[in-house]
């Protein structure tokens, strides 16, 4: 069964068709990249998948279950975690506290006004695990707002991972980063994919990152699906070269 299936999804804002009849299937363990010029509807497409707003038409399925009318919050409970193009974290809290909020949420402790020792230990274990996975242990007790952009991104990914997602959606994880930071975050995504076997969908501008990491790539232009295939197929695709790579060159 596919991890994620999007069937003919359309999103209109008034007369503007931001996403037009796009279909996508992501298999378990796959790393899928979504590319396309600015304004191609990539983030809108992401927002549809994660339930930020409802589609005008089309249906979506997570592991076979119809999630079209499921709220964003409930999609998280079903195993969908995302990060944002502009990092969304709790800047006035430490990394540890940021992850703690995510971990407690995922463990269903949200409503609790007190915690047993074993719950606390379970939460702390998961926080430590996420810190190790994202290599943030040394900065764990610093305020997130004080960190470098790359570390903030890693912290946001750590929060998403603390939810124990079935599928991870990353919106431009290397946006606005220098060489060093891009390398750091790309390395993290590679480890999550290759070693931890996460299913990942990511929007990305940096073509080196995309062609290095992705199993399959989908190309969006002006809200429509232009092409879909392996990195090699996409690189060789004349339409993509003309519409996207050519335009960028």
């Amino acid at each position: 069964m596919s991890m994620l299936e999007v069937r003919g999804v359309t999103k209109k804002f008034g007369s503007l068709v931001a996403v037009n009849d796009v279909t996508l299937t992501v298999e378990p363990g796959e790393l899928r990249a979504i590319i396309g010029p600015n304004g191609a509807g990539k983030t809108t497409f992401f927002n549809l998948i994660t339930g930020f707003f409802p589609p005008t038409a089309g249906r979506m399925f997570l592991e076979g279950r119809d999630i079209t009318n499921v709220t964003a919050t409930d999609r998280v409970a079903m195993g969908m975690a995302r990060t944002f193009q502009i990092t969304e974290i709790f800047p006035e809290l430490t990394i540890r506290e940021n992850i703690r909020i995510a971990a407690e949420s995922a463990m269903g402790l949200r409503m609790k006004a007190w915690m047993s020792g074993s719950d606390t230990a379970r939460v702390n274990d998961r926080i430590d695990e996420m810190l190790v996975a994202t290599r943030l242990t040394a900065q764990a007790d610093r305020l997130v707002g004080e960190l470098s952009h790359g570390d903030q991104r890693s912290a946001e990914i750590a929060m998403a991972l603390a939810l124990r997602p079935r599928i991870l959606l990353l919106d431009e994880p290397t946006a606005g980063m220098g060489e060093q930071e891009t390398f750091q975050v790309a390395g993290l995504i590679r480890r999550l994919h290759r070693h931890a076997n996460y299913t990942i969908v990511l929007i990305e501008h940096d073509m080196r990152v995309v062609f290095n990491l992705a199993d399959r790539i989908m190309v969006l232009t002006e809200g429509t699906l232009l092409a879909e295939g392996t990195p090699q197929q996409i690189a060789d695709n004349a339409a993509v070269q003309a519409a996207y790579l050519g335009a960028a060159a």
Partner: protein, 327 residues
């Protein structure tokens, strides 16, 4: 650290402990020194009552980041609930407080659930509207509430502990310590709450509601919970207010009181746990002094409030904290 430092986060310094020592030493010895600065026992009790109301509101305002301009409703219902018991039912102070809390909190849960359908400005308007409904009911229902004159003809009952009777009815100092004991329990509960997952959820919603939603947190539901908890503490304060005055009147439900409670929280510093208490102390004391000199006391409070907001945007306690942190 910026002005929005979170006092609920685990402290990494010993400084907050010093705060606690000063606050509790001042509160415990208040009856001894209030007289020297022109105060009196009832004034000290009033500071605690409004401090508790403002701290209760602040769970919502400062720690969840949601506005309410209608908390007088729960304050006033707490007062009437306590008054009804003493006036119509039994001569029992604990029962009066319990019923005050019950009336205020049930109203908080019901109104909160109805208001939760709207957010932002509309929510804030609804909080006022529901508050005013309570006011007009108390104002108009003469036969039960005493109408404009308020509910009178009751007195708080001495506290029978079995082995001894505490005469909180006639002894103002004793009553102050009774209020202080309840205040202590309430602040301990609030402190524990803010250190719990539920408290962290509230802070998460304040800090970034969108992130919270995408961490699987049901934001609306948790705002409702926060609202209900905050009305609980505000109605405790209201019940104590009725006991303090030995009457409950419609102005305790009026939106002006809601505004005053917000002013207290903002003046003291709503991002600090103890800020609203300090704000209440400043507000209530100023009100007492200035109103003895001029009937226009509200304009003076207004000027002072504007000055504090302009010059100490994080409140008086926020300002003091930052200064001590930068030293």
């Amino acid at each position: 650290m910026s002005a929005t430092t979170i006092s609920a986060a685990p402290s990494r310094t010993a400084k907050p402990k010093l705060h606690l020592l000063i606050i509790w030493a001042a509160l415990l010895t208040a009856p001894a020194w209030m007289g020297y600065i022109g105060g009196y026992d009832a004034l000290a009790s009033r500071i605690l009552v409004f401090g508790l109301a403002a701290m209760g509101l602040n769970l919502l305002l400062g720690f969840t980041g949601v506005m309410s301009f209608g908390h007088a409703a729960y304050f006033g219902l707490g007062a009437y609930g306590a008054g009804f018991v003493l006036r119509y039912w039994v001569h029992s102070t604990p029962l009066a407080i319990l019923c005050g809390i019950l009336l205020g909190t049930v109203a908080g849960v019901v109104f909160g659930a109805l208001m939760m359908r709207r957010t932002g400005m509309y929510f804030a308007m609804l909080t006022i509207a529901f508050g005013q409904i309570c006011y007009y009911v108390a104002y108009s229902w003469n036969s039960v509430t005493g109408g404009y004159d308020g509910l009178r003809g009751f007195q708080r009952a001495p506290l029978d502990l079995g082995f001894t009777v505490l005469n909180i009815r006639d002894n103002g100092v004793l009553f102050y310590y009774f209020v202080l004991a309840i205040f202590a329990v309430c602040t301990a509960l609030m402190g524990l709450l803010l250190r719990s997952p539920l408290g962290r959820t509230m802070i998460a919603i304040r800090e970034n509601p969108r992130r919270a939603r995408f961490l699987g947190i049901n934001v609306e539901r948790h705002i409702l919970i926060s609202f209900a908890i905050s009305t609980f503490f505000t109605s405790v304060a209201g019940a104590l207010y009725a006991l303090l005055n030995n009457f409950a009147d419609p102005t305790s439900l009026y939106y002006v009181i809601s505004g005053n409670i917000v002013i207290m929280a903002v003046m003291g510093g709503m991002l600090n746990f103890w800020g609203p208490l300090l704000g209440a102390a400043i507000f209530v004391t100023l009100q007492d002094y200035i109103s003895s000199m001029t009937v226009n006391w509200m304009s003076w409070i207004g000027i002072i409030f504007v000055a504090i907001v302009l010059f100490f945007p994080s409140g008086v306690l926020g300002f003091l904290r930052r200064r001590s942190a930068s030293k």
